[in-house]
């Protein structure tokens, strides 16, 4: 029951934003448009004509193109082959790679999407993959363009570019449907807004008639508290983790870093500058090729890709939580795990962390993105870790979900026995709001940001320029 009486109207030439909390049914609604899920009830009309979209193929034929939140690209193939896939321009036989490359380059130039056509998709960063995905959809010249949380993975400069692109695509006469989680982005670009709550359409209005407050209230039923920036006195506690001269291949070089208990160190950077490797070295998930790492044995790690790294999707909520606890004698009796106790605990955790699911026995794959993230956070933070490494922890989360994660991290650095937190994020606002100290990572090197430059503009410039003030 992901959707119940949801309604959506999209007009050619308009950007229509779809808002809602995680689990409100946004992705489900749009998946119905892409032919991926089939509604039990209700109708879908295109230009007044009722259609049934039983498969993605049918959706393509009706001119609906979807840019998926979890990109639908084949990693092992090149960008160009991904663009060619399923189009049958040569009737099945002739695979006209040069012709398609020319077409892709022309279109890319026209709309401002630059992608490396010959690179395997698996070697690209998230931002690049998204550009590929958008280009793939645009090449089919859809009349309805659906984007599911496209800004979630991008750096600020990239977001502006994307929003600009979205506007232009609408001006060309397309109907653009946009799911976004940041209200300011929505307000900047949308002509019309629909808000879903628990599978129902609770608000539909032109942009002029709404503001952030109205939208936030419609989404959650009440206005969330704004995040207060924490004053950051320099911590005098001993370092919890210390990196010296760390190198990982060509992706991370000469990194020195100390993080003390009670502080949040924010690491900003454009996707693909070595954050991934740094996060894994800090979390003890991989060894560097050079340099030393001193840190706690069992740090908490909140990875960016919760579906691939954070959870076992085929496991129940209880089983996923038990993965972090199976060594703990509390939950064992001899060689056996105490499942009923673990289930009761899972129910508690669901309550504390606000995880919306059918119950402790529900599979992790049945949760929406935000609820999966809460589950990962819940598992990693059980048992009071001394070091917490969070990699884009609010990627794809809505206002309430992001606020929850932020509050949780802030809680853990307060009090008498605080943890040390490293927050690696491409979301500059997040880093600035939470961190006591900010560093930027550019092409594998870390550069501290002086306090006077810890502003959106200052850090943003460093991220793009290559860290001119670095040591």
């Amino acid at each position: 029951m992901a959707l119940d009486d949801a309604r959506l109207d999209a007009w050619a030439g308009e950007v229509h934003a779809v808002l809602g909390e995680n689990g409100a049914g946004k992705t489900t609604l749009l998946s119905a448009l892409a032919g991926l899920v089939h509604p039990d009830q209700g109708t879908l009309r295109i230009d007044g004509r009722e259609v049934r979209l039983t498969t993605p193929r049918r959706a393509w034929h009706e001119g609906i193109g979807m840019v998926h939140q979890h990109f639908a690209l084949v990693d092992a193939m090149t960008v160009l082959d991904n663009l060619a896939l399923g189009r049958r321009r040569g009737g099945g036989f002739r695979l006209d790679r040069p012709g398609l490359a020319r077409e892709a380059r022309e279109l890319g130039l026209r709309v401002g999407l630059d992608v490396p056509l010959d690179a395997p998709v698996g070697s690209l960063g998230v931002g690049e993959r998204q550009r590929v995905e958008i280009l793939k959809v645009l090449l089919r010249d859809p009349s309805v363009l659906v984007l599911d949380e496209p800004t979630a993975v991008l750096a600020p400069a990239e977001v502006d570019g994307l929003l600009e692109l979205i506007r232009r695509l609408a001006l060309e006469g397309r109907a653009v449907l946009l799911v976004a989680h940041k209200l300011d982005e929505v307000l900047a670009v949308a002509h019309r807004v629909t808000v879903l709550r628990r599978g129902r359409t609770v608000l539909e209005a032109p942009r002029e008639e709404v503001d952030e407050g109205i939208l936030a209230r419609a989404m959650v039923g009440a206005e969330p508290e704004p995040l207060a920036r924490r004053p950051g006195p320099p911590s005098d506690r001993p370092p919890v983790v210390r990196l010296r001269g760390v190198r990982v291949g060509q992706r991370l070089r000469g990194v020195d870093l100390e993080v003390r208990a009670g502080e949040i160190v924010g690491i900003a950077g454009v996707e693909g500058n070595g954050q991934r490797e740094l996060a894994r070295v800090l979390a003890g998930r991989r060894d560097p090729h050079e340099g030393s790492v001193h840190g706690p044995d069992d740090p908490a790690f909140i990875p960016q890709d919760r579906r691939r790294e954070g959870l076992v999707e085929g496991f129940s909520l209880t089983e996923n939580l038990a993965l972090g606890l199976h060594d703990d004698p509390t939950w064992r009796r001899g060689p056996w795990l105490r499942w009923s106790a673990l289930r009761a605990r899972t129910a508690d955790v669901m309550d504390t962390f606000g995880i919306r699911a059918q119950g402790p026995r529900a599979r992790a794959s049945s949760l929406s993105g935000g609820n999966q993230q809460r589950l990962v956070v819940a598992r990693e933070l059980q048992g009071r870790p001394r070091l917490i490494v969070a990699e884009n922890p609010t990627r794809g989360l809505d206002v309430a979900g992001a606020a929850f994660v932020h509050r949780t991290l802030l809680d853990r650095v307060a009090g008498d026995d605080p943890a040390a937190v490293v927050l690696l994020s491409t979301d500059l606002d997040e880093v600035l709001a939470l961190a006591d100290r900010v560093l930027v990572v550019v092409r594998g090197r870390l550069h501290p940001v002086p306090p006077e430059r810890q502003t959106r503009e200052g850090v943003g410039a460093l991220m793009l320029s290559g860290g001119g003030v670095g040591p």
Binding site: A34, L36, T55, P56, R57, W60, M66, H68, F71, A72, L73, V74, D75, A76, M77, D81, N82, A84, L85, G86, R87, R88, R89, G90, G91, G92, F93, R94, L95, K136, S365
Partner: protein
């Protein structure tokens, strides 16, 4: 002079033994590229052998036998494809069941038709058909180009399938279905249809391989005459790194390894013949360890799809 004769006989035997493997492995390459591992290949081969025998016997024509063999292999693969692709059953278990059923069913049909004690069946054979000019090449001419016509099918299929897989839109879709069926489906590819088609093609080719065993090698059918060739063909696909051209090479290499036992015996090496029988398998293990190491199977190979049923 004697050595040259031995060498020619060795090459001829290599090709003769390698061709059925090549036919079956080329089909399997196609289905594995689309994400389906068909352990039931052995069932298709034995069905193809019996179908080929019955077809040839009924019409007196080995050519009709080959077509009948292809049909029998395809029928077995149809059962496999229905279960695996449409009902989403486990590929390994279903394939094993299909192989065992194929071996049992052909034995039953054979015994009910020819009796349990019957004298050896004599069938019209696929006679060698020398390719003009090429067969006259010195050294390798007769070995490579004076073989049963099914041999040339394997030669032609390898480049054809390579072209299909890597140079056509269908090939792109097949490979995408084997790497990431979700992404392929989202791009509008009919994953299940493709997989059924590649399975059927693999079954038909395995059937031709079986007919070749019955009609080109021996001119007879015996129970269990496929003798594990379906499984070896699956190893050949790995050895050939899922690339039809390399798969043909790998099949011929395997044929050569099998032929070596005869050559060595002819040359008078007096070692237990069981040791020679084991030789191809030892070579395979070595080759798998050394050469395939870094090759990667299609990422979605043997995984049920769609994952959540439906």
């Amino acid at each position: 002079m004697a050595d040259a004769a031995v060498l020619t006989a060795f090459l001829e035997a290599s090709v003769r033994l390698g061709v059925p493997l090549a036919l079956a492995a080329l089909g399997e390459t196609l289905s594995e590229r689309s994400g389906v591992i068909n352990i039931g290949l052995e069932g298709s081969i034995i069905a193809g052998a019996l179908g080929g025998a019955l077809g040839a016997l009924a019409t007196g024509s080995a050519g009709v036998g080959v077509v009948a063999g292809a049909a029998a292999g395809l029928a077995v693969a149809l059962v496999f494809a229905l279960f695996v692709v449409l009902l989403n059953t486990d590929q390994i278990i279903t394939g094993t069941a299909v192989t065992l059923a194929g071996l049992g069913f052909t034995a039953v049909v054979y015994q009910s038709r020819f009796g349990t004690t019957g004298t050896a069946l004599t069938l019209p054979t696929l006679d060698p058909w020398p390719v003009p000019l090429l067969a006259d090449l010195p050294g390798v001419g007769t070995a490579l180009f004076a073989q049963a016509p099914t041999t040339y099918l394997a030669y032609l299929l390898a480049p054809l399938l390579w072209w299909l897989l890597f140079r056509t839109e269908w090939g792109l879709e097949i490979r995408a279905a084997g790497e990431d069926p979700d992404a392929a489906a989202a791009a509008g590819v009919r994953v299940r249809t493709l997989r059924v088609v590649t399975c059927l093609a693999a079954g038909a080719l395995a059937g031709v391989a079986g007919a070749h065993l019955a009609l080109a090698h021996t001119g007879t059918f015996s129970e269990g005459m496929s003798a594990g060739k379906g499984f070896i063909a699956i190893a050949v696909v790995v050895l050939g790194r899922w690339n039809p051209l390399l798969v043909l090479m790998a099949a011929l290499f395997f044929g050569a390894a099998s032929a070596l036992q005869f050559a060595l015996q002819t040359l008078g090496f007096d070692v237990g013949y069981q040791l020679f029988l084991a030789f191809p398998y030892v070579l395979t293990l070595l080759a798998l360890a050394g050469w395939v190491g870094r090759a990667r199977a299609p990422a979605a190979l043997a995984l049920p799809w769609p994952r959540d049923g439906a």
